[in-house]
C-alpha cells in the first residue's frame, strides 16, 4: 500500500499509457479503414455507432467471442507464445518514449581526477550540490513518460523492438503451414536487414546530441531551435524507410502479402491471438511515429511558438499533432504505393540504404571532428540522396521487371 501511495504518478502513467495504446491501436484500425475508404472513394465503416465510431468495440468483441482454434499440428507452446512476444515487445518499447512535456534531466558534473587541485575540488563540490538540487526538482516534477531519465533510451527501444522478430519467426515456424513458414522467413530476413540502416541512421543524431536519452535529444533541439531534420534529411529518409519495413507496412509488407501468401506468418492464427499480432503491429507504428518526431522533428518543440517555457498542455497537443501526421502519412503511403518485389526489397536495404547510412555517418564524423557547422550536412545529404536516386534509376535491373521467378 505504501508503495502504491509513494509511486502513484508512475503507476497511473503506466495504466494510462497501457490503456491509451490499446485504445489507440483499436481506433487506428478504424482510421485506417476510413482513410482507405476515402482514398478509394468509398464511405467506409459507418454502421456501428455515429460515423461507425463504435466499430472499435465491435471488432474487439468479435475477436474475443470467436472460437480460439489451436490447430492439431502446431507446436503449442510456441504457437501461444508468439503473439504474446509480438505485443509485449511492441508495447514495452514505449516505456522510455516521452509523449508530452519532458524536461532535460540535469547532467552530473564531470568526475574529479586524482590530481585535482583544491580549487577544482571545491568547484566540483558546488557543482555537485547544484546537480543534487536540480535533480530533486527534476524528480519532483511530473514528466510525460513511464520511465524518466533512462540514459540508454534509444538503445532500449532498439533492443526491445528487435526482439519482435522472435514473435514473427516463432509464429511462422510453429504453425507448420507452408504459408506461415514462408511468411515468417521472409519477414525475419526483412526485419533484420532493415535494422542495420535503422541503427546506422541514428548514429549521426547521437553524435550531435552526445546522448541516447530521448529527453535530451528533444531538449537539445528545443535549445538550438533547429530540428535535426534540417541538418540530416538523409538520415530521416533512411530512418523512415527502415521503420516502414520494420512495421511491415505496405510498400514492404511482403511477409503478409495476401495475394501470394494468404496471411503470411499469421495464416493459422485467429480470434484473440490474431488481434494481439495486429495490436503489436499498430503499436510498433505508433512507437516509430513517436521516434521520428522525437529524433528528427523536435518532439514538442515548435520554433517561436512552443518553447521550453510553454505550458504542458500545448506541448502535449503539438506532440500529438506531429505524431498524428506521421501515422496518417503511414496510412496514405499504404494506399498509394505498390508492393515491392522481394529481391527489390532486399536490394534496397543492402545496396542502397546501408551505403547511404555509412556516407551519412562518415559525413557527420568529419563535420564534428573538424568542428564545422552542422549545416554543411544538409548539402551533403541532398547530394547523396540525389546521387543514390539517379544511380538506382540508371541500374538496368530496376528499369523493367523481367519474367524470371523470385525466391
Amino acid at each position: 500500500m505504501d508503495f502504491i501511495y509513494a509511486n502513484w504518478p508512475v503507476l497511473l502513467t503506466i495504466l494510462v499509457v497501457f490503456g491509451a495504446l490499446q485504445g489507440t491501436c483499436g481506433f487506428l484500425v478504424y482510421v485506417e479503414r476510413k482513410v482507405c475508404a476515402y482514398m478509394q472513394d468509398r464511405i467506409g465503416p459507418n454502421r456501428v455507432g455515429p460515423f461507425g465510431l463504435l466499430q472499435v468495440l465491435a471488432d474487439g468483441l468479435k475477436f474475443l467471442l470467436k472460437e480460439d482454434i489451436i490447430p492439431s499440428h502446431v507446436d503449442k507452446v510456441l504457437f501461444i507464445l508468439a503473439p504474446c512476444i509480438a505485443i509485449t515487445t511492441a508495447m514495452l518499447a514505449f516505456a522510455v518514449v516521452p509523449f508530452g512535456a519532458a524536461e532535460m534531466p540535469p547532467q552530473a558534473p564531470l568526475p574529479l581526477n586524482a590530481l585535482a587541485s583544491p580549487q577544482e575540488a571545491d568547484a566540483y563540490k558546488s557543482a555537485m550540490a547544484t546537480y543534487t538540487s536540480q535533480m530533486t526538482t527534476y524528480q519532483g516534477n511530473y514528466q510525460f513518460m513511464i520511465a524518466k531519465n533512462v540514459d540508454i533510451g534509444i538503445l532500449f527501444i532498439f533492443a526491445v523492438s528487435s526482439l519482435a522478430v522472435y514473435g514473427i519467426i516463432l509464429g511462422g515456424w510453429s504453425a507448420n503451414s507452408k504459408y506461415s513458414i514462408l511468411g515468417g522467413l521472409r519477414s525475419s530476413a526483412q526485419i533484420i536487414s532493415y535494422e542495420i540502416p535503422l541503427g546506422l541512421s541514428i548514429l549521426g543524431i547521437v553524435m550531435l546530441t552526445g546522448s541516447l536519452n530521448l529527453e535530451w535529444i528533444i531538449g537539445r533541439q528545443a535549445e538550438t531551435g533547429v530540428w535535426n531534420f534540417a541538418y540530416q534529411p538523409l538520415a530521416f529518409i533512411i530512418f523512415m524507410t527502415a521503420s516502414f519495413a520494420e512495421c511491415n507496412r505496405l510498400p514492404f509488407d511482403l511477409p503478409e502479402c495476401e495475394q501470394e501468401l494468404v496471411g503470411g506468418y499469421h495464416t493459422e492464427y485467429n480470434a484473440m491471438k490474431l488481434a494481439l499480432f495486429f495490436i503489436g503491429e499498430y503499436c510498433h507504428m505508433i512507437t516509430t511515429s513517436f521516434l521520428m518526431v522525437i529524433l528528427f522533428f523536435g518532439g514538442w518543440h515548435l520554433p517561436y511558438l512552443v518553447t521550453p517555457e510553454s505550458g504542458w498542455l500545448i506541448k502535449l497537443i503539438v506532440f500529438a499533432g506531429k505524431v498524428t501526421f506521421f501515422i496518417l502519412f503511414y496510412m496514405a503511403i499504404r494506399w498509394t504505393l505498390p508492393r515491392f518485389r522481394f529481391d527489390q526489397l532486399m536490394a534496397l536495404a543492402w545496396k542502397v540504404l546501408i551505403p547511404l547510412a555509412l556516407i551519412n555517418l562518415v559525413a557527420v564524423m568529419v563535420v564534428m571532428h573538424l568542428k564545422l557547422s552542422p549545416w554543411l550536412l544538409l548539402p551533403v545529404s541532398l547530394i547523396a540522396l540525389v546521387g543514390a536516386g539517379t544511380m538506382t534509376a540508371a541500374e538496368p535491373e530496376y528499369r523493367k521487371p523481367s519474367p524470371t521467378t523470385t525466391v
Binding site: H73, L92, P111, S177, I192
Partner: protein, 132 residues
Amino acid sequence: MSPEAAFDLSVYYPIFIFLGLLIAFCIGVMIAAHTIGPGRRSAVKLMPYESGMDPIGDARQRFDIKFYLVAIMFLVFDVELLFLYPWAVVAYREGGIPEVLQGPVFWSVLTFIALLLVAYIYDWRKGVFKWR
C-alpha cells in the same frame, strides 16, 4: 561523479512494472479467449491451411541458403553497430573523449568502418545481395 552513482537501477523499475503488467495482460487474454469463445472442433478445422487442399508433406522443410547468408551479414553489421554506439555517445560531447585523443579515435573509427567496407564490397562481388 563516480561510475557507481551514475547507474541507478531504480530508474528502470517502471519498465519492470510495465513488463509485469504486459505479461499479466497476455496471460489474461489467452485464458479469456480460450474460455469465452465456443469450442466446436473438427478434423478439417484443425488441419493446416493449404488453399483448400489436403496438406502435402511437412511445412518445416529445408529453405534457401540466402536466408542464412542474410543472417550472417546481419550479425557482422549488427555487432559493428553495437561497437559504434558507445563511441558515438562520448565522441563529441562535453566531458567525453579528451581533446588529445580525438584525432587517434577519429582515425581508428574510420579504419574500423573501412575494414567493414572491405567485407561489404567482397560480399557484393560474391553476389550475396543478389536475390534471384
